[in-house]
């Protein structure tokens, strides 16, 4: 008897039950997309026979992995679709203006490294103008409804070396921090909040020897070879770091743990268990009493938690919720885990904008309902570990979205 699947991603385990088809957010709004079963295990059987069967409609896959969460047979449907896109789709060619756009959206390190500098205020102001948006929409095809996340005038890494590094020497126990592009280039406050929480827990923070963008945007925009190159650099640095390597973004975490080996072919078995979100590391330590955090008595906030797609796939939301529940004065509701629709850079492209907003509507209406129910006796925020969900929810509902790490940092009693 066949003990194990001979193909990758458990192809043979598919029973054709179609539960994945039922939960696919893209299929619900776009009939050109074949759906996870046809794009994944069904299509794969044909592609193995002849790569000519590759269907370019696979570009519509959001890589949300909701098909994998729904699959009762452990078939890695989303991984299979991503792998097919890399193997059979067109790769690594910057063709025309849309190719240039995809490259620009995907190259977070290059663009962020250039922009997160003293020129940031100018760049931010220009990108916000109607003229710039119209130009980007008309030429590159970046949808005019989108605002680029503002760039910071100082990178987190620079702040850390100048302002925080010295104090870290005072801690006997250390953790490493993979800050990710968003905390580094756009919103260093998130990195500062991370340092505050970890220090309050009695641990020092170290940066990795070298950190590159995890590569998720490169991978989904067809630059897999570049993504793998960055992945190798990150894994190399993580191997050199001794203890846990903690993160604040669910998508970077999922990429490094799951997609490096499954999609990019980068083995990470030796370090995988050390790569995790801050809450995954912190919650068990709070429970065991090894770490104690003192929270303010006067903290008041109403928080609606949104489980991002990659958080849902990792299944770690209870670690975050468990910590939030310990904060006095924090009133927590958990939203039905719908996809917000943006899927990283996908929703920035003008041809995808309509799909993104249609998919997100279920979540947006949940959020509006939660806000109406919450009243205004305390500030209402949505909490999620994903930065692109944050942009999407803020743009579409006007409601503030915070990373749970920042909420914990704000609730800390720093006296």
């Amino acid at each position: 008897m066949q003990e194990k699947s001979i193909s990758t991603a458990n192809l043979e385990q598919c029973l054709k039950c179609n539960l994945c088809t039922l939960v696919c957010p893209m299929l619900a709004v776009n009939e050109q997309y074949p759906g996870p079963k046809k794009a994944g295990p069904d299509g794969e059987r044909y592609r193995i026979k002849d790569p000519e069967y590759y269907d370019y409609a696979l570009k519509y896959c959001l890589n949300c992995k909701r098909c994998e969460v729904a699959c009762p047979s452990g078939v890695k449907i989303g991984d299979m679709i991503q792998t097919a896109r890399i193997k059979y789709g067109s790769q690594s060619k910057i063709r025309g203006l849309h190719g240039l756009r995809d490259w620009t959206l995907a190259s977070t390190d290059f663009v962020g490294g250039m922009t997160a500098s003293p020129i940031a205020p100018v760049a931010n102001a220009v990108l916000k103008t109607g003229v710039a948006k119209a130009v980007l929409h008309g030429t590159l095809g970046v949808d005019r409804h989108r605002t680029f996340p503002a760039y910071s005038s100082e990178k987190f890494e620079n702040w850390f070396r100048k302002e925080a590094l010295e104090a870290q020497a005072g801690f006997e126990k250390k953790v490493s921090f993979f800050h990710g592009c968003y905390a580094n280039y756009n919103y260093p406050q998130l990195g500062k909040d991370f340092v505050k929480v970890v220090n309050a827990a009695g641990y020092g923070v170290e940066l990795l020897e070298r950190e590159k963008c995890c590569g998720i945007a490169l991978m989904s925009n067809g630059f897999a070879a570049k993504a793998a190159k960055q992945g190798r650099i990150n894994l190399e640095s993580i191997r050199k770091a001794a203890g846990p390597v903690l993160t604040v973004s669910s998508s970077c975490t999922h990429m490094m743990r799951e997609e490096y080996p499954e999609v990019l072919g980068l083995p990470n078995e030796d370090v995988k268990d050390r790569i995790m979100l801050l809450s995954r590391w912190l919650y068990p330590r709070l429970e065991s009493g090894e770490v104690k955090l003192n929270f303010r008595k006067d903290f008041h906030m109403k928080v609606a938690y949104h489980t991002s797609c990659h958080m849902q796939r990792m299944g770690w939301q209870e670690f975050t919720l468990g910590i939030l529940r310990k904060i006095p004065g924090l009133e927590l509701t958990v939203l039905e885990p719908y996809c917000c629709g943006i899927s990283g850079t996908f929703g920035f492209k003008k041809e995808n904008y309509g799909y993104s907003q249609k998919i997100g509507e279920l979540l947006f209406s949940e959020i509006r309902e939660a806000k109406a129910k919450a009243g205004d006796s305390a500030p209402f925020v949505v909490a999620t570990e994903c930065e692109t969900c944050k942009w999407q929810i803020e743009m579409s509902t006007g409601i503030t979205v915070m990373n749970p790490v920042s909420i914990i940092a704000q609730a800390l009693d720093s006296e």
Binding site: L19, A70, P72, W316, V334
Partner: protein, 207 residues
Amino acid sequence: MTYDIIVIGGGLAGCTAADVLAGAGKKVALFAEGLSLHDATEGPASPKAQARSPYSALSALSAKGVTVFRGDSIVKADLSDDGSHVVRVFSRNLGDEPLVAGAFVLATGKFFSRGIISYMGGVFEPVFDADVEFEPDHGKWFDTDFFAPQPYERFGVRTDEAGRVIKGGIIIDNLYAAGQVLAGEPLSDEGIESSGRAAAMEIMKKW
């Protein structure tokens, strides 16, 4: 993570047991590997929930305060030294985080959902390695008449009269089986629901 009761399996039996227990004020966690076929096709709950999410039964349980782990499954269990008590279990996604509860419900279904798994030499239950009732002669598993009741449909875990799972002849005193994972006549939907309810009632009597 600590709960009053952990339900393993998010099908009709597991959801019914979790619903009854949560209704009685218990702190319940439920692990649902994948969306259940029953939830997808029959999903009760409100018409609004039905229209919005295929996870209608699981969403309704979340609203009742059950902690639902979607797409996660229990992969390992620690029993007490004498084998008569489940101390803690571990899930695929939560890794080394111990999941502790007073009582556990095993509602993982039959072959389709891999609640029991067959191979040429026999049939086993993958989470606890509980005792499974099955026909040892592989030749007698099937009736060649396709439409006749199939003997393999009766395979399942062995329990005592209170529905507690037996392993190596020893009754595990806080592990209750419900639904299709049970040995015996295949159950109708009503039968599955009532076995879920029965497990919940037994648990409330003792735990």
